[in-house]
Structure formats: C-alpha cells, structure tokens
Symmetry: C2
Subunit: 533 residues, 2 copies
C-alpha cells in the first residue's frame, strides 16, 4: 500500500495483504497498519487498485471497514475486489469506479492517467499521478510482453510521452530484478501446451493461479484445437473464471465448458481439468486429488498433470509433496523444474532498464519485492544514470517528501503488520505468538492443586494433565514423579513459611521445568493452577 | 539406510537422519525404524557409512544404542561419525574400521570393494558388494568431477571393470535427475572466488556447509593468493575444520588461520571469515550477524558476504531473510540466484547415464531423492536399455529379492519414521503432534471448577485461563462470557440430572467450542478441569 499526499488530500494506491510467515503461528493473513489513514480520514480522496492480486487488494475489506473512499480499478480488478468485500458483507459501503487504459480522471485535485501494462493477471493498470510538484509514475506489477495473449502490449507510447514531458518520481516493480535479460512472453506457453496436449493419451489436468486469466485462456485455446472439453475445479478457479467470462476477459466457445459431473462420462482423452492447487495448498483440489482424497476426481495412470506456476517462496515443499503423490498415483507430471511450463509476470533487468529509460524520472523509488530486490533495483537505476542521491529505498512507514527539485526521506508514520486471526484483527501480538510457539514445540503440562483456605492444607491434587508433551498413556511413571515434585515444591514453600500463591506457582514452575528438562530435554509450558475452597 | 541380506548375514549401508517437516512440530530429527535389524541382531556383520553427511550418518548414535556391529568408512566419515557418537556418550561401544578407495574387505562373507567418487564432502566411497548371487554396486551420493579439488576423480576404471565383470544390481543416486547435462566441477568456483576476492574492498565473509571441505579449501586457497588471513566461525565449522585438518583433508598453510579475537586487529581487507549459516538457520553465526546479534562480529558497509550453497528445500525463506538483513546492515551479498556461486554435489542426467553405461547392471534401483526423482531415474535407466521389468522403485520397508537371474519386490518389513524429541525416541506420535498442531494455531483455554463431593455444588470457579488464544488483558469481557457459558453448561447437566464428569466436561467443551468459534472464528483446545473436595 502506498499513499500520495499533497496538502489536504491523500490518494491511496493498493491495499494488499501478506500471507503469514512460518513463525506467525495460527495467523490467517497479515494486513497493513492504516493508523495514519484513519487519523487523516477526511483527507482521503480515493483508493486505486492497480490489479486484482491478493497482495494488492486482499486488505481492502479491512481498510474499507475503517475508512470511506471511492475505489478505482479496471473492471476485472473491481470484480475481484467486490467478491472479497461481499465475503465480509461490506460491499455496500463502497463506491466502485471502473476505469480503462488511457482514461484520465480527476480524483480530488490529482489528475490520474491509467496505463496498460502486462502481468500475470489481466486488467493491470500503471498510474501517472499529476501533482502540482510533478508527475509520479507507479508501474504496478508489470512485465513487457510484445505478444500478449489479449493483444494489448504495455503502453510504451504513454510512458514515452510522460518521460518526454518530465517525470518527478518513478515507482517501479522490483520483484524480478535478480534475473538478467527479458521475461519471455506469455504466448510462448502456447507451444508448450501444444506439445503436452499432443502427447497426452489420457486426461489433462492443468493447475495455475486462478487469477492468471491469460494462462487459462491458453489452456482453453489448446483444448479447442485438441477437441477436448474443459471443466474447472476448485472454488477460487470457478469463481474467477465466472467473473472473467462475464466481463469478457476470458473467451470460452459455446459448448466447450462442462460440469464436473460430465467428466466421467467422456473418454479420458477428451477432457481437460483446470484446477486450483498450483502451490500445493493442502486443501486445494489438486492436492486432494494427489492424496486420493478428492470426492469426484481420482488420479489414474495415463493422466498428465501440468503444474503451470512457479513456487511462491515458502511453498516449495508443499508443491514437491504434491508432485510426489501424483507420481505415486501413476500420473505423469510436468512442472517447472523439468520443463519450464510457466513464465513470470514480472519484468527482468532489461525490461526494468527500458522502463527507467522511457520514463527518465528525476527521482526513483524501487517498490514491490524484498529488501535485497530494492537495493539491486536501486543499483540498476544508478547504472542507467539516476544519481544515487535521487534514489530512495523506503521501508514500511517511511515518508518520502518531494518538491519539484528535491527529494528526501522526511520521517516516519506508524506502520507495520497487523495480524488477522479469525475475527480478530490486531489482537494477536507477541505474547500470544510466543505462547503458541512454545505450545507448538513441547506442549503444555498443567498441575492442579486445591487448598483449604483456612489452613493451606492440600485438599485435592496435585493432578497433572498434559497435552502435546508426551504420549500420556505411556507416561504414567513420569507423571507420578511430576506429582511428587509438585508436593516437594509445596513442602518447600511451607517450610519457608511462604504461602503466597505467586511464590508457590513460581516454585512449582521452576521445579518442574528443571525436572522435565533433565528427564526429557523438552520445555513444555508449565501451568500451575491453585484453587482455594 | 539400506541393508543387504544373504542367508544369515546382514550388511547395513548408512544410518541417516531426516530433518523434520513443518508439520512435525517440536521434533528434533527423524530416524529410521530399525525394528527389523533389532529382531535380527545376530545376523548383522557390519555397518558401512558411505560418507559423512547427516542423511547418511546422523542416526548412527541411535542405531548403535540398539545394535552392535563394527562400522566401516573413510577416515573423514568415521571422524565425523565419532563426533556424533561422543555427543551421545556411546563412542566406546563401537569398533571403527577405516577404509580407503580400492580397499577390498571381507565383512562377514561379503567381499566389499570401496570406490572413490566425487561429492560435496570429501571421503565418499561407493561400494561393490560381492555376494554369491552377484555383485551389488551402491554409488553413494556422487557426481563426476574431472578436475576435483583433491585431485582424485571418480574411479571410472573400477566401475568399468565391475561392469565388464557383470553387475547384478546397481543402486544409484537420483537427487539431481531433474537436471539435464552435467554438474560442473567444484573447481570452476576457484574463478568465482578469484573474482569476488579481487573486487572486495572490505572483509570477506563466506558461508558454506561445514562439511564441504573442498569448498573451504578453495576459500583458503583464494585467501592465500589475496594475502588475507582466515578465521572460522560457528561450532560445526570449527569442529569439522579441525577434524579435516588433522586428517589431512584440508590444507591450511602455517600462519594463515587466525582466532576470532584477532579479526578486529587486522585491516578489513586482510580478513576472510568462514562461517556457518548457509541455510539461514536462526541460531547460526551468519544469521546472528545479519540480525546484528552476534557477540563478536558486526556487519558493516564494505563487507562482502558470499553464500556459497544452495537452499535445501524448505529453507528458502530463512535464507532470503538472512540476505535481506545483510543488505540492511550495508553488506554486499553474493548468492546463487544472482551469481551461481555454488555447484551441486550430485550427478545430473548425463552423469547418471554414464554410470548406468559403465556398470551395465542387470537390475536397477534408483535411490536417494524423493519419489518423483526415483520415477525419473527409473525412466532414464530404461532409455539406456535396462528393461522396465528389471527396474524397481522401492519405498521404505520394501524387500527386494534378487537371484542371479531374477529380481522382485518380495515383501515388506516394518519400517518408517521414528521421531526424536529431546531424549524421547519414538514417544511422540500422532496424538501428541495433533495436539501441538491445534495448540500452535489457536492456543488453549482451560476452565477449572471445584465441586463439593457431597452435593455437587460449585465451591470455586469457574476460573478461566488461556494461553496462545487471545491477549488476556484485552479479553476480560470475553472471559466473563466464557465463565457464564460454563455455568450455563453445568446448569444444563444438573437439569438433566447427569453429574457424570465426562458428560459434564463434554458439555463444557461443546458449549465453549461453539461459543468461541462464533465469537472469534478460532478453535483453541478446550480443557475443562473438574476437582471434587
């Protein structure tokens, strides 16, 4: 999420979410901290969504619950965003304003031009935001595709025109900056699909991101050529395909699409299944097929599975597991490591240089990507001739201040990651995560004692309960010892004449912690519970 | 781990461990189930370790606690294994018998030839096991390096001799079967190091696997050329370097190596640090430097960090995090995605084909690698001309039975994964892991009630305690409602006249589970505790 502020107006660009890292146990999604926007609610003139990927629209429902502003984007982007708002029941709260490439709109007093770029989803719009201080160009996520599937290449002429006119700041996508050369065209996959469709004797099962409309279009095209019917599987695939068809982004000839029920009735070599699960997500349709757990589709020898996606970092093992299981079910599996059956949606070095050359910005800010990507993109800009003092690597919360002649990191606003867990937004913090971490590693052991409030005598217990620590049935002897240790700790407190609960609990915790670590080299969470009656 | 059995003799090959998958919460390492060996203790004539990597020697201490047998391997392999045995205090239990390439030994009535191969650790030995039914060749982990750092290429002549003589079964490394062509020589990295050493103005910090002696040798060689001193950092790095020096595998000129203390006293451009942390392991030296948490070394602008390793699947995000943090500290970072500063230790397709051609086995069994690799290696063998009925893909526990003329999967023995958690070997099973999983996602909520055993009246409570569920201080109101729900559940039991504890607990669990899910969309473990006094 970026925000452009001039005097008393703020224009927000994108509202993305992040998927949790491994150490964010139990967290569903991570959204940006929008405290600053909430504090300046009255200044916000609009929210522009550059495209419909989760990391650009996923936080919109949460943002919309806090701030009110019209939302701009391509028709596909808005349709995908609307589906999210509906899940949260807040679709009525928002005015959606569809825009198209080359549209020019006044949003507040900003004039915004929307510019076509290529990417791994349709309907991506880069932005030229005209401010009194100068023009800001935001590339969105992009690549340069000279032969795009929808026939609409990146709008070189607009970027050139802006560069000629003079651009103050360029914000450009850094995701693929580590790669030399050019990202190849989406269209090269047509040949790949042709090859695999030609060679397949049984069913074809293709998985890709549901949002990759052009990829799905190419599978549809190949199916037409090879006289196969197409069925779509998986909730997000079915939803996105339906939206994309309605809006005309995806063209499926009449009679080509079939329901899942009809798949069984057709010969295997007349069927293509397009499914979710390209990241090995355990609950996705393809993963369930691989595990033999899908209700309707059973993988069989002769099936060819094409995984037309690359791994999002962190998903490598899940994808590998899916592939292994598909092999065990007898399928032939075609995936990137072996055959390059995927192309990226992000510009490589030569494209990034071309963008820098076309736009000729005075100031440059690399965006999208991890810190190392920003640094490398910054270096690339310097090679192109942007002075190093005019290049800024910004982290979340940094405020970049530009005038027509100057730029600097001027300060910080509150920013950061807000954890969403179930209905809770921001209520899971470090304490809860630390507890979950400990519980996940060695479980919990609970010692319960009931004391007589008159004389402090033990009326019941100590009772010991554990979960996630040891297999209880085989640990009777250990638990007996734990009980004895608790009594020992209580005796010690009594001997010291200290019957303060927190002291007693501390003693029990310490005694058990040491004992259990010696005995098991594990550190379960130890929870002494004292009740008085 | 493999075992070769003939009549009343068993020869064990390797005793490796596996690192836990993400869903094996709290597990330290995973070792093989050796029930079969324990049941046939008296048959075991020896354990051969092909090389010193964890996935080949890591389970030895656990195996040695259960079975007695002499252990064979190269001097380096045995030294690394011995260090592990010492950690477990069982080094005295084992007779270690060092062997060298071209050695021929009688182990029981098996004649075993040890054969030099190349890999990413020194001292790797392939095996030719002569049995009355025929010769079994086990390649160990290997690649073909025509210009190895230690000057000892793979022993083509021995493999050729065996092939000429006639080999019954070949077991060959499948790890890199997805890669076309040849794995390049370790020596090509000399040029890379030369390039980076030449360009570095400040300190050089190189990380690789501690066991990659040849890689470390090349760093040492580059340091000599560039008049830099070398310091080793990280426990396993220091240990392995010390062992490898003692045994002559690693050659460090006198006066080149310095202690960590001396690093600060030298100019930055006269120092090379060789450190652990190539996988982004959070506790390793490089990771701590990246986070600014290392006691002795602080990363500073001008430092060049070379990550001379590729990611083990699953470690990608940790490595990326380390790189990002190194960039933030101002270091220049050189890593594989950008510069190919690592070469693999495993044979690619052309090398695998050459091995198959040289050995010309009657039967072929692909080993090492995931299931998909085995399938692809099996196909490669068939392309080379091994009939498909003579190729066997074996899973853990499968028994392959060969005679001079026949081969088949003849049955299964008990096998599988044993989880090691602290001192517990095999005591953490599905129940414990399932509990840890639930605890890790949504924590635990405990409801404690004390009842009067005479009349079932509530004497104390319900008290509610939670950990890892919500932030307690901000959830007073929720906890008040939980308390009311518990009382509601108890009333219901009383109204139904059912005071059976397990019924009451069930009611509480169900009531709270439903209530909390509605309220929070989380599913903490719910633990009702009832005490009677």
């Amino acid at each position: 999420m970026w925000a452009v502020e001039y005097r008393d107006e703020i224009l927000v660009i994108d509202a993305g979410l992040m998927f949790p890292d491994e150490d964010m146990l139990g967290i569903d999604v991570v959204i940006p901290d929008i405290t600053y926007l909430m504090e300046h609610q009255e200044k916000i003139v609009g929210i522009i969504l550059t495209h419909g990927h989760e990391d650009h629209i996923g936080a919109l429902p949460y943002v919309i619950k806090q701030i009110t502003a019209p939302v701009y984007g391509s028709r596909l982007t808005l349709a995908l965003a609307e589906a999210k708002l509906k899940e949260h029941g807040v679709e009525r709260k928002v005015q959606m304003i569809p825009v198209s490439p080359r549209d020019e709109l006044k949003i507040g007093s900003f004039k915004v031009e929307f510019i076509n770029v290529n990417h791994s989803i349709a309907g991506v719009l880069a932005l030229a935001i005209h401010t009194p201080a100068g023009i800001i160009v935001h590339t969105a996520d992009f690549k340069i595709d000279h032969t795009p599937v929808d026939g609409e290449p990146l709008d070189f002429h607009k970027f050139a025109e802006l560069g000629e006119k003079g651009v103050l700041v360029l914000l450009s996508d850094s995701t693929n900056v580590e790669q030399e050369g050019y990202t190849v065209s989406e269209r090269v996959l047509a040949e790949k699909f042709e090859e695999f469709f030609h060679g397949a004797e049984g069913r074809l099962i293709v998985t890709t991101f549901a949002s990759n409309i052009h990829r799905i279009q190419q599978v549809v095209n190949a199916a037409v050529l090879h006289r196969r019917k197409v069925a779509f599987i998986g909730r997000s695939m079915v939803n996105v395909v339906s939206i994309a068809k309605d809006l005309g982004y995806l063209k499926i000839p009449d009679g080509l699409e079939i329901e899942l029920d009809e798949v069984q009735r057709l010969p295997a070599n007349e069927v293509v299944l397009v499914t979710t699960g390209s990241q090995g997500e355990p609950l996705a349709a393809l993963s369930r097929m691989a595990m033999g757990e899908h209700r309707r589709i059973t993988i069989m020898p002769g099936d060819t599975v094409i995984i037309s996606a690359s791994a999002i970092p962190g998903n490598e093992k899940l994808i590998a597991r899916t592939i292994n299981h598909l092999y065990k079910q007898g399928a032939r599996v075609i995936y990137e490591a072996v055959t390059g059956v995927h192309v990226s949606g992000h510009a490589r070095q030569e494209e990034l240089k071309l963008m820098l050359q076309l736009v000729k910005p005075k100031f440059f800010v690399p965006i999208h990507g991890e810190y190392r990507h920003l640094v490398q993109h910054a270096r690339l800009a310097q090679e192109i001739g942007v002075p190093s003092k005019n290049v800024f690597i910004a982290e979340n919360g940094d405020v970049l201040e530009f005038t027509a002649n100057s730029g600097r990191i001027a300060g910080r606003v509150s920013a950061g990651r807000i954890f969403v867990d179930g209905l809770g937004v921001g209520d899971v913090g470090n304490v809860v995560l630390r507890d979950r971490k400990q519980l996940s590693q060695d479980g919990i052991l609970i010692a319960i004692i009931t004391l007589d409030q008159e004389n402090g005598q033990v009326l019941a217990g100590p009772d010991i309960i554990s979960r996630g620590f040891v297999y209880v049935r085989e640990s009777e002897a250990l638990m007996e010892e734990v009980r004895a240790k608790v009594i020992e700790a209580l005796d010690k407190c009594q001997n010291q004449g200290n019957n303060d609960w927190s002291f007693m609990k501390g003693q029990i915790r310490e005694t058990l912690s040491r004992f259990l670590y010696e005995r098991t080299k594990r550190r379960p969470m130890i929870l002494p519970i004292i009740t008085e009656v």
